[in-house]
C-alpha cells in the first residue's frame, strides 16, 4: 500500500528535477546569447553584465522594485497558466489589465475611493471588468467558433485606445494636457508593507491568488475538468464534460486575474494613479512565466522571482550603462523557444557536434541586432 504513493512521489521528484534543469539550462543559454550581443555592442560589456546580475540587490529600493515585479509577474503568469491548462491560447491579459485599471480608477476617484471601501471595491471592480473582458473572446469562441487568439489580441488594442481616450478626455487630471489622472486618495492606494519601498499589498494578493488558483485547479472538480479539457477536449466531451463551458469559465477566471493585475498597477505604490500605457508590455511576459512554470500555479511565483530579477537588472543596466533594457527581449524569446520545445541538454550538445543547425539560436539574436 505504501509503495504506490512513494513511487508517485519519486517520479514526480524526477520530473521536477528534469524541468528545473531544463529551465536553468535555457536560462544559461539565453544569458550567454545576450552576453554575446552585449559584448558585440557595448563599450563596457562586463560592467553591463555585472549590473544585470548583481545590482537588483544593491539597495532596499531596488529590492522593493524587484518584489513589486514578482507580484505582477506572478499574477500575469497565473492568468496565462489558467488558459494554457485548458489549452486555450487567449492572449487578452494585456487588455484585461487596461480595462481592470480603468474600473479601479473610476472607483478610486469616486467618493467611494476616499472611504475605507476604496481598496476592496477598486479590486472588485477591476476583477469584474477584467472577467467580462476575458469572457468576450471565450463566449465568441464557444458559441461562434471565433478564433480566440485573434479576438483577444484585437481586444487588447481596443482596451489600450479606450484607456488613452478616457485618460485624455474623461477622467479628472491635475492640469490640462498631461496624460495622467489625479493621484488617488490615500485610502484607495495599497499601503506599503516596508517603509520607503514599493513593497505593498500587491505581493500578498499575488500569493493569495497562487493558492486560490492552485486550489481551483487541483482540488475542485472544475479544475479537474479544466485540465481534462486541456489534455483532450474530445475525450472530455465524450465523458460528459461541457468543454465549451469549461473554456469560457477558464478565460473568464483568467480575465479576473488580469483585472486584478490592472488594479495592482494603478492602486499600487508604483503609480497610485492612472497614466496612459502604464503596463509597458509586462502582461505578455506572463507567457514566459507560465511556460517555464509548465502552467503549474505553485511554480509560477518561483519563476517570477527569477524573471523579475532579470527584468530589474535590465532596467538598471539601461540606466547605468550603455546597454538598452530591451536586450531582455532576446533573453525572454530564447527561453520561451527552448523551454516550450523538446530541447534537452543532450540535444544541444548533439547539435553543436553536428554544426550548422546549431546556428539557429544565435541567429535569433543576430537577426534582431542587425
Amino acid at each position: 500500500m505504501s509503495t504506490l504513493p512513494a513511487i508517485d512521489r519519486s517520479s514526480r521528484f524526477k520530473t521536477m528535477r528534469r524541468e528545473v534543469g531544463r529551465a536553468l539550462g535555457a536560462l544559461v543559454i539565453a544569458l550567454l546569447v545576450a552576453f554575446v550581443v552585449v559584448l558585440l555592442t557595448s563599450k563596457a560589456p562586463f560592467e553591463a553584465l555585472n549590473v544585470l546580475l548583481t545590482q537588483p540587490l544593491s539597495r532596499p529600493r531596488t529590492i522593493g522594485l524587484w518584489i513589486d515585479d514578482i507580484a505582477k509577474l506572478t499574477v500575469t503568469g497565473l492568468a496565462f497558466s489558467l488558459v494554457f491548462q485548458a489549452r486555450q491560447f487567449a492572449m487578452g491579459v494585456q487588455g484585461q489589465v487596461y480595462i481592470g485599471a480603468l474600473a479601479a480608477t473610476y472607483v478610486a476617484l469616486s467618493p467611494l475611493g476616499a472611504s475605507w471601501a476604496g481598496i476592496p471595491l477598486g479590486i472588485a471592480a477591476a476583477m469584474l471588468a477584467g472577467a467580462f473582458y476575458g469572457f468576450i473572446p471565450g463566449i465568441a469562441k464557444a458559441k461562434l467558433g471565433a478564433n480566440e487568439i485573434v479576438s483577444s489580441l484585437m481586444l487588447n488594442y481596443i482596451a489600450i485606445e479606450l484607456c488613452n481616450y478616457l485618460v485624455r478626455a474623461n477622467l479628472p487630471k491635475p492640469q490640462a494636457g498631461v496624460l495622467t489622472t489625479n493621484d488617488f486618495p490615500d485610502s484607495a492606494v495599497f499601503p506599503t508593507l516596508v517603509a520607503n519601498t514599493r513593497i505593498d499589498l500587491s505581493i500578498i494578493f499575488a500569493l493569495v491568488a497562487v493558492v486560490l488558483v492552485w486550489f481551483a485547479l487541483y482540488r475542485t472538480s472544475w479544475g479537474l475538468k479544466l485540465r481534462l479539457v486541456g489534455h483532450n477536449a474530445r475525450f472530455a466531451e465524450y465523458s460528459g464534460i461541457k468543454a465549451t463551458f469549461i473554456m469560457v469559465s477558464a478565460m473568464t477566471a483568467s480575465g479576473a486575474l488580469g483585472g486584478l493585475l490592472g488594479s495592482m498597477f494603478v492602486q499600487g505604490q508604483t503609480y497610485g494613479k492612472l497614466t496612459v500605457l502604464f503596463e509597458g508590455g509586462l502582461a505578455f511576459e506572463g507567457i514566459l512565466v507560465a511556460i517555464v512554470a509548465r502552467s503549474r500555479p505553485l511554480a509560477v511565483p518561483i519563476v517570477a522571482i527569477f524573471y523579475a530579477y532579470l527584468r530589474q537588472g535590465a532596467q538598471l543596466m539601461n540606466i547605468r550603462t550603455d546597454v538598452p533594457a530591451e536586450v531582455i527581449g532576446i533573453v525572454t524569446a530564447i527561453i520561451i523557444l527552448l523551454v516550450s520545445s523538446s530541447y534537452s541538454l543532450n540535444f544541444i550538445t548533439r547539435l553543436f557536434r553536428r554544426g550548422p543547425a546549431a546556428s539557429a539560436a544565435p541567429a535569433a539574436a543576430g537577426g534582431a541586432a542587425k
Binding site: 484585437m154 488594442y157 485606445e161 507567457i287 530591451e326 527581449g329 534582431a368 542587425k370
Partner: protein, 314 residues
C-alpha cells in the same frame, strides 16, 4: 457627412486605401500560406516589425531594392527559425510565434537604439530611403478616361503592384501546381501526404519561410512607403489583423485580397477622419480597424457555422 462621401469617392482616397492595404495584404498572403500548411502564424506581427527595421537600416547604406530584399530576407529567416523550433524541436507553434513577437518588440528597440546612438523612439536621424512610386501620368494622354485612369493608377508603390500580382501568383501556386496541392494536403490531413511519400515537414518549413518573407515584405512597404523611417511598435497590430483577414477571407487568396482591402479601407478612413470630424476622438477612430476585425471574425464564424450546419456536420 457630405464631406466624408466626397472624400471617400475621390481618387486620393483610393490611393490611400491601396497604400494602407498593401502591407496588410502582403502579411495576409503570408498568413494564408502558413495557415493552409496547417500552422497558424501568430508571428506575422513580429516578422513585419523586424522587416520594417531591417529595411530602414539597410536603406541607409544601400539602394531601396536591396533594403526591400533585406526586409524580405529578415522575415524569411524568422520563418526558418520558427520552423526549426516548431518542427525539429517540437515546440508549440503558437508559443514559438509569440516568442518571435516578444523578440521583435524588444529586439527592434534594442537594435534601433544601437543604430541611432541611443534613440529608442524613432529612426528620425537616420537617412532612410523610400520605395519609389510608379508614375503612370502618361495615361492621362488617353482621351476621355485618361485623367481619371491616371489619377487612380498613378502614385502607388512598386510593392503595391507586386502585391496585386502576388495574389494571382499565390492563387496559381495553390490551385494549379503540384506543390500547392501538397501544401493544402499537408494542412488538411498531414498523415495522407506523409503516407504518399511527400516530405511534410519540408513543405511546412518552406511555407513558414515564404510566410515570413511576405510579412517582411509588408514590413518594408510599411517603413519605406507608408511611413519613411522606423518608429517603435510601428506595425501596431497589423500582423494580428492580417491573421483575422486570413480567416475572414475564407482561406483563399482572392478572399485575402478582399479582406485586406476591407481593413485597409477602414485604416484609410481612420487616416482621413480626424481631419473631417474634430469631435470624434482620434483614439476611438484608431480603434476602428480592431473593432471591425472582431466584428468580421464573429460574422464570418456565424456564416461558417451555418455552412457546417447545412452540410449536416455538427
Amino acid at each position: 457627412m457630405m464631406e466624408l462621401f466626397l472624400t471617400v469617392f475621390s481618387a486620393a482616397f483610393f490611393v490611400t486605401v491601396i497604400r494602407t492595404t498593401t502591407p496588410l495584404l502582403l502579411a495576409t498572403l503570408g498568413g494564408l500560406i502558413a495557415d493552409l500548411g496547417g500552422a497558424l502564424n501568430v508571428a506575422l506581427e513580429g516578422m513585419m516589425l523586424i522587416g520594417c527595421l531591417t529595411a530602414v537600416i539597410v536603406s541607409v547604406y544601400a539602394p531601396w531594392y536591396v533594403a526591400v530584399l533585406a526586409g524580405l530576407g529578415a522575415g524569411a529567416l524568422l520563418g526558418l527559425i520558427m520552423a526549426f523550433f516548431a518542427f525539429r524541436l517540437k515546440a508549440d507553434i503558437i508559443l514559438v510565434g509569440f516568442a518571435i513577437n516578444i523578440l521583435a518588440a524588444g529586439g527592434t528597440v534594442f537594435a534601433l537604439a544601437l543604430a541611432t546612438g541611443g534613440d529608442k523612439g524613432t529612426s528620425i536621424n537616420l537617412q532612410s530611403k523610400a520605395i519609389p512610386a510608379v508614375d503612370l501620368s502618361f495615361l492621362s494622354g488617353i482621351p476621355v478616361v485618361g485623367p481619371t485612369l491616371s489619377a487612380f493608377l498613378s502614385g502607388h508603390s512598386v510593392l503595391s503592384w507586386l502585391a496585386a500580382i502576388l495574389v494571382f501568383a499565390v492563387w496559381y501556386f495553390l490551385y494549379r501546381t503540384p506543390w500547392g496541392l501538397w501544401l493544402r494536403g499537408v494542412g488538411e490531413y498531414p498523415a495522407a501526404p506523409e503516407a504518399a511519400g511527400i516530405p511534410v515537414n519540408k513543405i511546412r518549413t518552406w511555407s513558414l519561410i515564404v510566410s515570413g518573407a511576405l510579412a517582411g515584405l509588408g514590413g518594408a512597404q510599411l517603413a519605406m512607403f507608408n511611413y519613411v523611417g522606423f518608429t517603435r511598435d510601428m506595425t501596431a497590430g497589423r500582423g494580428f489583423i492580417a491573421l483575422g483577414a486570413v480567416l475572414l477571407g475564407a482561406r483563399h487568396p482572392v478572399g485575402a485580397l478582399l479582406a485586406a482591402l476591407l481593413f485597409g479601407a477602414f485604416e484609410a478612413l481612420a487616416v482621413v477622419m480626424p481631419g473631417l470630424f474634430n469631435d470624434i476622438p482620434a483614439e476611438l477612430i484608431r480603434a476602428i480597424p480592431f473593432v471591425v476585425t472582431i466584428a468580421a471574425l464573429v460574422l464570418f464564424s456565424i456564416r461558417a457555422q451555418r455552412a457546417l450546419a447545412l452540410r449536416g456536420v455538427k
